[in-house]
Amino acid sequence: MSQLSHPFPSREGPVSVLDRVFAVLDVVRSCDGPISISGIAGEARIPKSTAARLVASLVAQRYLTHEPGGVVLGMRLFELGARATMPRRIASAAAPVVYELAQRTGERIGVWVQQGTDMISLTAVPGRLPMLPTRAGMRSPALTTASGKAYLAFCDDTNVVDRVSAPLLDDEVERFYDELTSVRADTVAVDQGDSYAGVAAVASPVIDRSGSVVGAISVAGPAGGLRTAHVTPLVRTASISLTRRLTAA
């Protein structure tokens, strides 16, 4: 069943033990609630017997924990995650800035860092967008979101930008790079609803003390309801004060 449920049953799964560990943790993370051994084996594309052994080891070492219906992420990951330096540094520098931006806009505020082709939220304050759940640790696509474009416009690593823009066709790539150029000039990126239907967002980059971009801060609200002209200077100011707090820290 697990084999059939996968859209690419013939594609080879991860082979090294380490890659299989990464794959299993990723499958459990992206799953809404407990997942069974065969569910993990199918999603991670590893043999069921291997999955069973690996899950047993991961449970023994507290990376996973048993619950009725399967396994979920375990407390060891919570402990390790709480000690991750960059998220902790940025989130604590951002707290007063996020609070003020939320007070002044009444909209959803997010602070994001880049990971692979996604942005991951470090802090999130809900605004008036009830249809989208929001919490720290959530992923959004870097290609289309305001925070992703704000990050990419200032990213020195061309490999990152290339990887994110890889799915685009030739003329789309050109338009994308043009947009990044104007984001660099404005220090503000906008998403009019490309990432999530009905959700508009404005974001500015966050720079650390070494001068490189580390993430973005964003304001999101209902498309058509978000007052972009009002919000844009506030986001820009927030990004400058967050950058200043990070540089001073």
Binding site: S16, V17, L18, V21, F22, L25, R29, G33, S57, L58, Q61, R62, V72, L73, G74, M75, L77, F78, E79, L80, G81, A82, R83, A84, T85, M86, P87, R88, R89, V113, Q115, G116, I120, L122, R135, A136, G137, R139
Partner: protein, 218 residues
Amino acid sequence: MRTAAWTESVSVLDRLSAVLDAFGEDSAGLTITEIARRANLPKSTVSRLAADLVDQGYLDREGARLHLGVRLFELGQGVERPRRLRELARHGMVQLRDATGCHVQLAVADGDDVIVIASAHGHGSHPPVARMGERLLLGSAALDSALEALRHGAAGAEIPSAFEHTRGGQVCVASPVLERRRAVASLSANGSSSSIDADAIAPLVRRTAAALSRALAS
């Protein structure tokens, strides 16, 4: 001691854990050499493993120093039990902090350890307390109170009891958070014993814990 045979006998997962556990609370990061020493692994092994971990975002590189990475943050935020408790507890914890001036903590048991999952920092000067994701220290007022609260949670009372301990000038009042009559967390107020009247704050701690228990049930 660190022979090739010894290294081979240690599984990949054990090596991964040894490397990740090498990172303590200090945020200055570690070099490959420092990780190798702390993890008791050959430098070449750590170097290879670290390269894979940086690729996957489990470690972040900052010059020559490595840090626990964004992927671990993401996985940590995905752990359901603390996340749900934190979300429900946040408001009440801040209120309790404002009403008492105490440092307010929420902690859960994991095996023999008690791990802090949320905290609202007190306004006054306090002795150092465990941060989010840290374990409560052996021999601390916070651990003794939390263990008692977690053990006696299911006494059957409508409003959970409060448990108080004083150690080394620090006082802690803890009350269990109940789910289906089982203690799933300990909510506590902490402060210096010279400035905190434990009897006065105990009813507030109990009431906050009771409110959180009700929120869990709904």
